[in-house]
């Protein structure tokens, strides 16, 4: 308990920053992931290949490497630099967001696509027969049904995202992953410190599991 109370200045801002990282990148990667999934099932071959190259590239790259790129290599291209944000920490937060969003969206894309595959082909054919465009077909017929099937794997992807965000500790974003590094320099007992970190992570994951359960229940249908 002492380890926690003596170092509240680490735990408070650390987890707050983790939650922000998670919320922003979860929302953005859900949107980007769905767009990518739409690309991957699009009737135009070019769009399909854009979607599949993106997924192949990002899903096969270690997340640390993606972080490396945005933290160190990307500013050299001078599209967005620390000067754009006025401070170094602002840029590194942006870099962490970019890395997490781009990496996670590849996984979200594949989860959504597997959901789309659960919808029988007849549904798409029927909507085409009714005169719906490709976009209308996805938005009002296929995706609503696909969403139902992807709740559990999507939650797993999001939980993985939450835990992946700790990698940002090595790239100048102070968050939950940095706490143990600070504790060791302060001479605190790290085992206890890490137990607290683990406990807070569990507290963050529990609401997500509850959400998953309630969504599953609400959207369940007899097949």
């Amino acid at each position: 308990m002492d380890v926690l109370l003596d170092n509240l200045d680490l735990y408070g801002p650390g987890f707050l920053s983790t939650i922000w990282l998670f919320l922003i990148s979860a929302a953005a990667s859900l949107v980007l992931g769905v767009v990518l999934a739409m690309l991957r099932v699009a009737p135009v071959p070019v769009m399909r290949s854009i979607g599949s190259s993106y997924v192949t590239l990002l899903r096969n790259t270690p997340l640390t490497l993606v972080f490396f790129f945005f933290a160190f290599a990307f500013p050299l291209l001078e599209i967005v630099t620390p000067a754009t944000f006025g401070s170094a920490s602002g840029y590194y937060f942006f870099a962490a967001l970019c890395a997490l969003i781009l990496y996670t969206s590849a996984f979200v894309c594949e989860v959504v696509r597997s959901g789309i595959n659960t919808v029988p082909v007849g549904q798409a054919e029927a909507s085409r027969a009714l005169g719906l465009t490709f976009g209308q077909m996805l938005a009002s017929v296929v995706l609503p049904q696909a969403t139902r099937a992807v709740v559990p794997p999507m939650m797993s992807t999001m939980i993985a995202l939450l835990k992946n965000s700790t990698i940002a500790a090595g790239f100048s974003v102070f968050q939950a992953g940095s706490i143990s590094l600070y504790l060791s320099e302060r001479g605190e007992n790290q085992m206890i410190g890490l137990l607290w970190v683990a406990l807070f992570f569990i507290l963050l994951v529990i609401p997500m599991s509850l959400l998953q359960r309630s969504l599953e229940k609400r959207w369940s249908i007899a097949r």
Binding site: F72, S87, A88, G170, F171, S172, L181, S184, G187, E188
Partner: protein
Amino acid sequence: MRVRTLAVALLAGGLALTACGKEGTPGDPGTGPSQQVAADVKVDGSPTFEKMTKRGKVVIGVKEDQPGLGYKDPTTNKYTGFDIEIAKLVAAKLGFDEAKVEFKSIPSAGREQALINGDVDYYVGTYTINDKRKQQVGFAGPYFTAGQDLLVKKEDSSITGPDSLMGKKVCSVTGSTPIQYVKTKALTEPGNIVELQTYSQCVTQLIEGAIDAVTTDDAILKGYAAQTPDKMKVVGKPFSNEPYGIGLAKDDKALRDKVNDILDAAIKGGDWQAVYDATLGKSGSTADKPVLDRY
């Protein structure tokens, strides 16, 4: 067919990547003086020493990413530096020659746990002695006295010390004592504090101009400055006192006293100076001999 094209492309890509890899090793590895191995050493009542003798070799925790102090050459897997030589000196006086020494790279954050678990017999790696740490581990020494300093670009004259850091981007390792100091003393704006995984990354960012100063103990900074003296310099105004000790199991007083005796003899004799001259001394700066702090 597609598989073969892919394989060829990957192979070609791999070859192209390896071709632009770094050639040779950075800096001079600096081999230390050879130590005389003591015979028939006895440390009564030391469980750690008993374990070492039974095992027939000594396991020493060190750093692997600090040139001049504790550095592991990735191509030869050889360890070099001041801390490494001190570790070897202590091992030799405990009766273990170089062949019976096994180095284990342990980063700062894992030091206490490695000593508590007994993964290493002792730890030599820029380990600052303080009271908080003494609650978890034991310390022999200090065997070196360092102080927090700043590494800047050679042509940079705007940074002269800790008071001139306002508006400058300062980098160090995530959570390290020097960066916590910069934070709590508000030496620069919170937005200008950069925390990366290793000092090497900070140094690379300094050379690229993404940051203005690297801060940590002067001993570490000297190691980097010695690699590329035409690009970087150490400001040379230490603003803290960091006595480096040899980390030991907390309750092993017998071994602690023995290691203190060994260090005492090395500092009073010429061994300590010889080790310094062969490693950190190459940066051109001198160092004061440390004063032992027994407890």
